[in-house]
């Protein structure tokens, strides 16, 4: 294990130190006194674990490919931007546009998230991304979604609605699971709301077992309430928009 003190550090210097530690083969890197530094873990490869103490800045784990980052506080916007593989665990809340264009790996958020989370996530048979949000989510959750799995749990909602409007707008692939009821008026026109089948239950159990073990939660507590599944109603939602 290696400790890096981020107090007053410019992001470029901090990230250089992190990169060098990863290249040296450090298994665990602890960043102390992080206070808003951008781009932690940006484009980083390998299998290291990075523990962030303090609140990191935007674009954490952008383009990341492999490492695990655990944030022991709240986090800001754009986490996991176009991330390819690896995992980010946030023990608090996180901001807007998480997992934009994400291609693989996992985001496990204990608390709530802002707007446009999980938009344009992708996936194929080889790899697919997963985002699990413990609290609530803002508008445009899963917009343009093309693949992967988005899970919203609503474990602690502080009086906020479970999810905002335009849920899954433009969705043309992937699956969204929502714990609780979903009103059709909150959903995009491209989304159908269904009950879970056996395959869904298997996927959810697998995803949530990992989430619970990361964040010290009990699977039974989460599974005690029913889920709804959201899928695209058409593979080509805009197929009839054009005259040829």
């Amino acid at each position: 294990m290696v400790e890096i003190d981020a107090k007053g550090a410019y992001y470029r210097d901090l990230n250089k130190k992190v990169r060098e530690a990863v290249e040296k083969g450090e298994k665990e890197i602890v960043l102390k006194n992080v206070n808003g530094q951008y781009y932690i873990g940006d484009g980083l490869r390998g299998k290291s674990t990075i523990v962030v103490e303090g609140v990191p800045g935007n674009d954490l784990a952008a383009f990341m490919d492999g490492p695990t980052i655990r944030i022991k506080a709240n986090a800001q916007d754009n986490i996991g931007n176009t991330m390819n593989s690896g995992k980010v665990i946030v023990e608090g809340n996180a901001g807007d546009v998480l997992g934009y264009g994400m291609r693989g790996g996992k985001l496990h958020i204990r608390g709530s998230v802002g707007y446009r989370v999980g938009i344009h996530m992708k996936g194929n048979k080889k790899q697919a991304p997963t985002i699990v949000v413990g609290g609530t989510a803002g508008d445009f959750f899963g917009e343009y979604m093309a693949g992967g799995v988005l899970v919203l749990l609503g474990l602690s909602n502080d009086g906020e609605p479970l999810v905002g409007d335009y849920l899954g707008t433009g969705m043309h692939g992937g699956t969204i699971y929502i714990r609780g009821e979903v009103e059709k008026k909150n959903c995009g026109a491209e989304v159908g709301v269904l009950e879970l089948d056996d395959e869904d239950k298997k996927v959810l159990k697998e995803v949530l077992t990992d989430y619970c073990s990361d964040l010290g939660l009990k699977l039974e507590d989460i599974m005690s309430k029913g889920f709804k599944k959201l899928v695209p109603v058409s593979a080509r939602p805009y197929g009839n928009l054009y005259a040829y």
Binding site: D42, F63, Y244
Partner: protein
């Protein structure tokens, strides 16, 4: 089903006396115009787009494609395409799509600019016998350099230069993605770029493994759909481009129709086969110049500080936007004029939004000079560069290099029929149908494209020679060597050129 009241644009005709019933037209047409009727070739002329593949491959020259003479009553205001679009929209309720750049008769400023030449008082240069420098470096230039002496007395730079892209000619191939064009068409661009010492741009569709041998001649693109963007991808090329907008469709996103998403394209884009590939209109992590700066530096952090280009469509306020882009840390500003091509855009957007590239170059170059930041970024100008003369004029107006795409496709057989969005291109360019893409032999057409770039290189050298200068650097932003004809004083003022005769 009722017969469409939108009449066919073209009449495909076969001279039945000349026709030897070899059926080559049936094989060659990607649109299904021709079929075999037992004893003769049948024609469904509604499907014809006048791409002329059948004409070129008919061994007997029996085929003729005519503009449909049975048009609506002639009307200077309600022209054929206006009426036809209304009828099509009435029948479908859809937005008419189109491909290529706008074909509408707006003023073409390049055709209203003339280049100077030397006579008597200053000597011209013969480029065939004297050296002529076209080499161009794209990237941030320092405002001053410090030089120090090494121990052995040699001079060297005290600080390293920011990273530069080296071009042997100030031309690049503009972004066209795998998906919008075929892999073979991308191979043509990559092979020709390597042969000419220039670069091609992947567009937003990932970098296929077959193009990896050409990675030193590739700029990779990151756009709002983030298709194919991996850490390897970002680090593969010589630079990364963030695409904000495209000249043919400013302010709207990309929409690759499901017809062009077979398995291979779906795999690189990581989306389901046969769905429409949607690139959102904005990048949802960029709502401001500050956000753009954030993505530029996210990419720089991920690539150990490779040059980053930002591509925007030329719009009314382009100068201020370009200034913001430079201040956000971009190394290259890529301006795409409204004549720029597209694989698919609503024709209403293509033909009515944006501004021509000529205005944009002049406005951006002026603004960056006024603000003292012209050295901070290079300008690539694209969107309707048809010839080396257009390129020379764009460079004299202030561009560092020009981007060409339509001209490159024309070397592959394209006739600008404008039906790229259907995925039926008979020339194997803007299609993913394997029987069509197999026609485009990368080696054969890379040689043709290389020929074009070599020809333009010679022409640029001839122009420089006539101007009495021996380096493209001396022509860059040199508007004193341009004159306008038939332009009003406001236009001359914007372009920063004098009227011819003065």
């Amino acid at each position: 089903m009722f017969k469409s009241l939108a009449p066919p644009e073209y009449l495909a005709t076969i001279d039945r006396v000349k026709c030897i019933r070899c059926k080559r037209c049936i094989q060659n047409c990607g649109w299904g115009v021709y079929s075999w009727g037992g004893d003769k070739v049948l024609i469904d002329t509604f499907k014809c787009v006048k791409c002329l593949r059948c004409y070129h491959y008919c061994p007997e020259e029996a085929i003729e494609i005519k503009d449909n003479p049975t048009k609506f009553k002639e009307n200077a205001y309600w022209n054929f395409h206006t009426i036809r679009n209304i009828k099509k929209q009435a029948e479908t309720g859809g937005i008419p799509l189109t491909g290529m750049g706008s074909d509408k008769p707006y003023t073409i400023l390049f055709d209203n600019l003339l280049i100077d030449a030397c006579q008597v008082t200053n000597p011209s240069i013969d480029p065939l016998r004297e050296p002529m420098e076209l080499r161009t470096y794209l990237g941030k230039k320092p405002s001053s350099v410090k030089v120090e002496k090494t121990k052995d007395g040699k001079l060297k730079l005290a600080e390293p230069l920011p990273p530069q892209i080296k071009l042997d000619v100030p031309i690049i191939f503009s972004p066209m993605s795998f998906g919008s064009i075929s892999l073979n068409a991308q191979k043509v661009l990559a092979m020709a770029a390597k042969a000419c010492g220039i670069v091609m741009n992947t567009g937003e569709g990932g970098l296929h493994e077959d193009l990896m041998p050409y990675k030193d001649n590739v700029i990779v693109q990151v756009a709002s759909g983030r298709f194919g963007v991996t850490p390897e991808y970002l680090n593969a090329g010589v630079a990364v481009e963030i695409k904000i907008g495209q000249g043919a469709k400013p302010g709207i996103g990309g929409h690759l129709p499901g017809e062009k998403i077979p398995l291979e394209v779906a795999r690189t884009r990581m989306i389901p086969v046969g769905t429409d590939a949607l690139s959102p209109a904005p990048q949802h992590d960029i709502y401001s110049i500050e956000d753009l700066r954030q993505l530029i530096y996210a990419i720089k952090e991920a690539t150990n500080y490779k040059p980053v280009s930002v591509k925007i469509a030329a719009v009314h306020n382009v100068a201020a936007i370009a200034s913001g882009i430079v201040r956000a840390g971009a190394d290259i500003v890529y301006l795409d004029g409204f004549r720029g091509g597209t694989g698919a855009a609503p024709s209403i957007i293509r033909d009515h939004l944006g501004i021509p590239i000529e205005h944009a170059i002049a406005a951006v170059d002026d603004r960056l000079r006024q603000e003292g930041i012209r050295n901070e970024a290079s300008i690539i100008a694209a969107g309707g560069i048809r010839s080396s003369a257009d390129a020379a004029k764009a460079i004299a107006l202030g561009a560092d290099a020009v981007g060409i795409a339509t001209a490159a496709l024309i070397t592959m057989g394209c006739t600008t029929c404008g039906k790229c969005y259907t995925g039926n291109c008979s020339w194997g360019i803007t299609t993913q149908r394997p029987e069509l893409t197999a026609r485009l032999d990368p080696e054969v057409y890379a040689e043709r494209l290389t020929n074009l770039i070599h020809a333009w290189t010679h022409e640029l050298k001839e122009i420089l020679g006539a101007l009495g200068i021996n380096s493209i650097e001396s022509m860059r932003g040199n508007r004193e060597r341009l004159r306008g004809i038939g332009l009003d004083s406001a236009m001359l003022d914007i372009l920063g050129v004098k009227p011819a005769g003065r």
